[in-house]
Symmetry: C2
Subunit: 341 residues, 2 copies
């Protein structure tokens, strides 16, 4: 197995900078579109053979150094009792959003083998053929809470923050339940064979640093402590570049960075012992090949200041991205970094 | 005139921390709703008597230390040749978005007296009765460019970034035109009598620091240099907390901060000679009075480390905000800070 990604996650010397791309199995790939055209999104997530098939695609097509299980962060939320639907125009919809104690008490405890067996089945299938490490993942409790309270995406997250600021105990009770769910979900993925896990805190960036500490970070701490430290644990708090000194205390082995911060500045804040993942603006891939190469090389070179660096975009690759530019990106990262750090 | 706001902008000693609220004249106020119910949004912006009336409302109702002219950042964009409409559901729509040289060459040069006389008329009306300083404003060139290229708000700003990365010269030509427009627009407001100006860079935070320098900041520099330095010039680059070391070089007298950064950390990066404005999460106002008071006091106290501090929210006040909490906020800031810094 190509273990460059895992070595970098551990801060070990590597021959080149490993790279994978968030949402690398996704709509920008015609091969994905073909599979997806036959089934709806949730069926794709819940059919191990199909989920495994699209998970493998970018490994073959782009030559990335890690695969990430194709799934959705709301899968376990549906499994503990909320009705989930994906709308082409609005994105995810969770029915009967949680606004009170009754809503919280209706949530079940996750039994991964019973409730989401397809996730572990996909992991097992993938481990039979994958030549690169497989990353399992979960949404972070705060991010999942925003979906559960808002009933989907939101502009200003008023319902979430109203609960935080008016009914903090209720909010914490919800977070406790979600945290337990995430811990069993990730441990089940680990037991099934994933080689690393990433916790996506996609909406942590709507919080002030004080609120991040009080309402989000401590639950991430609890999750990280409950996971086998032999496997790299990556925490990606999106849009939190101005509070990295807080993110730093998550306990994760690797910290994801979005593109709003210079990776050099991030490493300065996190310290040279940090292991970081990121952070090219996904929109760079809409530019010329020259811009892609130039900006990618800049990130690779600056990333050398950290103890370990896994190259990635600063957010998920966009559906309209030209595949050739994604390929060129992976090649550039490998070429520029060859010779090791 | 209550000149506490202007003193703070200049870094002079004040008896208390001045406060105003972004979008303080707006939908959360029943008095605003009443005026707005009779005319559409653009008519309100373009009728000096009505714009002046709603500009005054929060000064009387909340007791803020500055007024900001009621208008919209897209007013000058319409004036130089783009068709503008406000949709209740989608927000602003600019027809025939700019995607090529032809689009850019169609833009006219702004003649403020000819094209937007109502703006200066509103300023003159307000100056007759206002007992607090009046802030004029403009969108920053990059932010205006995103609207002009996307045709409205956007999720990922793909068209904007595609032009930046594929046709950088074209993008810079557009920015030159917008910059000239902003300079004449702000100077016309200054000639009409505003006491300070704020430049809103609401979408600068979609950029990486390198792109911010190349595609946004230098145009802000040019504008700031073209404005009378006797009047405070405030630059608010939203969601740029992780690149404050770049924002710092804008040349502005005062820098606005959003709530994603601890104001202490911001002052550390900017230096104790900095004059800052911000930065309470607008959603705090959905909480209990205790939370509002606690969080506001925290910002006031930490703000003392800067040479000057103007209290504000970290973004515009939201339409659903309880007016009583906005009043309580202004009172708290005045009380907690009384005695001067």
């Amino acid at each position: 197995m190509n273990d460059t990604f895992l070595k970098a996650c551990r801060g070990e010397k590597t021959d080149y900078t490993p790279v994978w791309i968030m949402r690398q199995a996704g709509r920008y790939l015609p091969e994905y579109q073909k599979v997806r055209s036959k089934v709806d999104f949730l069926t794709l997530c819940k059919t191990p053979e199909l989920a495994a098939e699209v998970t493998l695609q970018p490994v073959d097509i782009l030559g990335v150094d890690a695969a990430i299980l194709f799934s959705d962060i709301l899968i376990p939320v549906e499994a503990i009792g909320m009705k989930l639907e994906f709308s082409e125009s609005k994105g995810p919809i969770l029915y009967d959003p949680i606004r009170d104690s009754v809503g919280i008490s209706r949530l079940r405890t996750l039994d991964p083998q019973e409730d989401v067996p397809f996730v572990m089945d996909a992991v097992k299938l993938l481990k039979q053929s994958l030549k690169v490490p497989l990353i399992g993942f979960s949404g972070a409790p705060f991010t999942l809470a925003t979906y559960m309270i808002e009933g989907g995406s939101s502009r200003n997250y008023v319902n979430t923050k109203r609960m935080m600021y008016k009914e903090p105990e209720m909010f914490h009770r919800l977070m406790d339940k979600i945290t337990d769910c995430v811990i069993s979900y990730l441990n089940a993925q680990i037991d099934a064979g994933v080689d690393a896990v990433q916790i996506f805190d996609s909406w942590a960036g709507i919080l002030s640093p004080a609120d991040f500490d009080e309402f989000a970070l401590k639950y991430v701490n609890k999750i990280i402590s409950a996971l086998n430290p032999a496997l790299p644990r990556i925490y990606f708090a999106f849009n939190c570049g101005a509070m990295l000194s807080h993110v730093k205390t998550s306990g994760a082995d690797v910290l994801g960075l979005d593109w709003r911060i210079d990776i050099s500045d991030a490493i300065t804040t996190l310290g040279s012992n940090a292991i970081v993942q990121g952070n090219l603006d996904p929109c760079t891939l809409f530019g010329t090949k020259e811009i892609v190469a130039k900006r990618a090389a800049d990130v690779v070179k600056k990333g050398r200041a950290a103890k370990g660096h896994i190259f990635n975009l600063g957010h998920g690759i966009l559906p309209e991205t030209p595949v050739d530019n994604a390929k060129a990106l992976v090649e550039t990262v490998h070429e520029v970094s060859a010779g090791g750090k």
